[in-house]
């Protein structure tokens, strides 16, 4: 490992067993690395393995084959306590997954106080600071059912940030949002990226991917079909499949 490396995957394979059907081979040998401070967007058609790849990075999906190294540690090894490493990998989901039975503030403080045993008062202060940052401070004591989709996703982002992760994983963070709320969530992610947060973003927002990323990965058929600087990939794609995909989504 070089000291600039954050995540490295070696030959990841993942298939899903569905009863009565042949197994669905979703990842077919993905070897990739993500450096510290890098912002990597993953684009590609549905079913191409983008989300599965991202979910493998913090082992929400367990790959059948291959290895994942995070900050130099092989987290796919059976000896590793994955809970420790997940603390340093924030994740934001397509469907927000905020905790409906907790207040907005408790959503943020529960993991730091429970997992990292941070003093509740300190966690509270930190939570308010984060809520301020995304303009939700006045909602601190409400329940998430009172929030709009965009507000829920902003909450989900700061909930992950409260653990002070080294990398953030975004799984289609704006796909479930009403169009008018996409902007506010992308703004928050943009602001975060500017602070130098290493980020991996699975997205269908091509303009956004092009604007914020250092590198774009095009995934199709369970492999990374193309990888490069955003301008290169978007303006001059080398792989015919990338060309075809981009011609369909950039109209």
């Amino acid at each position: 490992m070089t000291d600039t490396e954050m995540i490295r995957t070696e030959n990841l394979h993942k298939s899903f067993q569905i009863e009565g059907k042949p197994p669905l081979h979703v990842l077919k040998g993905v070897t990739e690395h993500i450096n510290k401070g890098e912002v990597v967007s993953i684009i590609g058609p549905s079913g191409g393995g983008k989300s599965t790849f991202l979910r493998c990075l913090n082992l929400l999906e367990t790959p059948e084959e291959g290895q994942i190294f995070f900050e130099g540690v092989e987290i796919t090894s059976a000896k590793v306590d994955i809970n420790l490493h997940r603390q340093k990998m924030g994740m934001v989901f397509q469907h927000f997954n905020v905790f409906p039975h907790l207040s907005v503030k408790e959503n943020i403080t529960i993991a730091p106080t429970m997992v990292k045993k941070i003093d509740p008062k300190q966690a509270d202060e930190k939570a308010m600071e984060l809520l301020n940052r995304v303009g939700l401070a006045d909602k601190a004591n409400e329940h998430p059912s009172r929030l709009s989709g965009g507000q829920k996703q902003r909450l989900a982002i700061v909930r992950a940030l409260a653990m002070e992760p080294d990398v953030m994983l975004f799984d289609e963070p704006t796909s479930a949002l009403d169009p008018e709320m996409v902007g506010e969530v992308l703004e928050v992610i943009k602001g975060l990226v500017k602070t130098g947060m290493t980020s991996v973003i699975v997205t269908h927002e091509m303009g956004f991917a092009r604007e914020v990323s250092n590198r774009v990965l095009f995934m199709d058929g369970g492999v990374i079909a193309e990888s490069g600087k955003p301008d290169e990939v978007f303006q001059n794609p080398q792989n015919p499949r990338t060309k075809e995909f981009l011609s369909k989504v950039l109209y």
Binding site: N58, L60, N83, L84, R86, Q87, M89, G90, M91, F93, H95, N97, V98, F99, P100, H101, I110, A111, M114, V115, K116, H143, S145, A156, R159, A160, M163
Partner: protein, 223 residues
């Protein structure tokens, strides 16, 4: 009118049999069944959802057998089997109670399981992605949400238990339906006795459902 007079007379002569013995035993039997059944139900549910597969199968088999055979048959088995398994003498009501508890536990375990599984998988994923372990996720994230799914179905189960204890009258253990048998045997006034017992069952269940309703609203208000 005669009918009404008969009821008053029966109540006057036998109110102790109905209200003290009958309602008393029915409540005792129901409360024990519900309490012990819920606790045993939690363990069955844990076994059903455990990662150790043979335990899953064992619990599944027990639940399927209990659900697939008549309650009355289970009471008979309890009535004859429990005294044989224990080295000391037990009252009949205990043998019957054991059967009731096992029966209720199986239904309750399924209620718990469906309530837990109804909580969106994304909740677990979000908690785990924050570094919480399986136990923390279950206790702090999944169970508090599952309770709200579980409560109405659990209330139903409690009402069912109260009514099912009537089957214990087959063994003359003294609950409400037994008091019907006793008083009818002495007065030969079948319809009047049935009416009294029916009203008492209804009142018990009506009060219980109201109480559960209040409890559910309280939980909802905390949202």
């Amino acid at each position: 009118m005669e009918y009404f007079n008969n009821i008053v007379k029966i109540l006057h002569d036998y109110w102790r049999v109905f209200l003290i013995t009958g309602v008393g035993y029915t409540l005792l039997l129901s409360l024990v069944t519900v309490a012990a059944g819920s606790i045993l139900g939690v363990f069955l549910c844990l076994g059903r959802m455990a990662r150790f597969k043979p335990l899953n199968w064992l619990v599944m088999a027990i639940v399927e057998i209990v659900r697939g055979t008549p309650m009355l048959l289970q009471l008979y088995i309890g009535y004859f089997l429990v005294p044989k398994l224990l080295p000391f003498n037990v009252p009949e009501i205990v043998s019957i109670g054991v059967a009731l508890v096992i029966n209720s536990a199986c239904y309750v375990s399924e209620v718990f399981r469906s309530g837990i599984q109804a909580v969106d998988r994304g909740q677990t994923e979000a908690a785990r992605s924050l570094g919480m372990n399986g136990k923390q996720t279950m206790i702090k994230i999944v169970l508090p949400q599952a309770i709200k799914n579980i409560l109405p179905a659990l209330g139903n189960e409690f009402v069912t238990v109260i009514k099912e204890t009537s089957m214990a009258s087959t063994f003359f253990v003294g609950e409400l339906m037994t008091s019907y048998l006793i008083v009818k045997g002495r007065t030969f006034l079948t319809m009047e006795c049935l009416f009294i017992v029916g009203v008492l069952y209804f009142v018990l269940n009506f009060v219980l459902t109201r109480l559960l309703g209040v409890f559910e609203r309280r939980l909802k208000a905390s949202d």
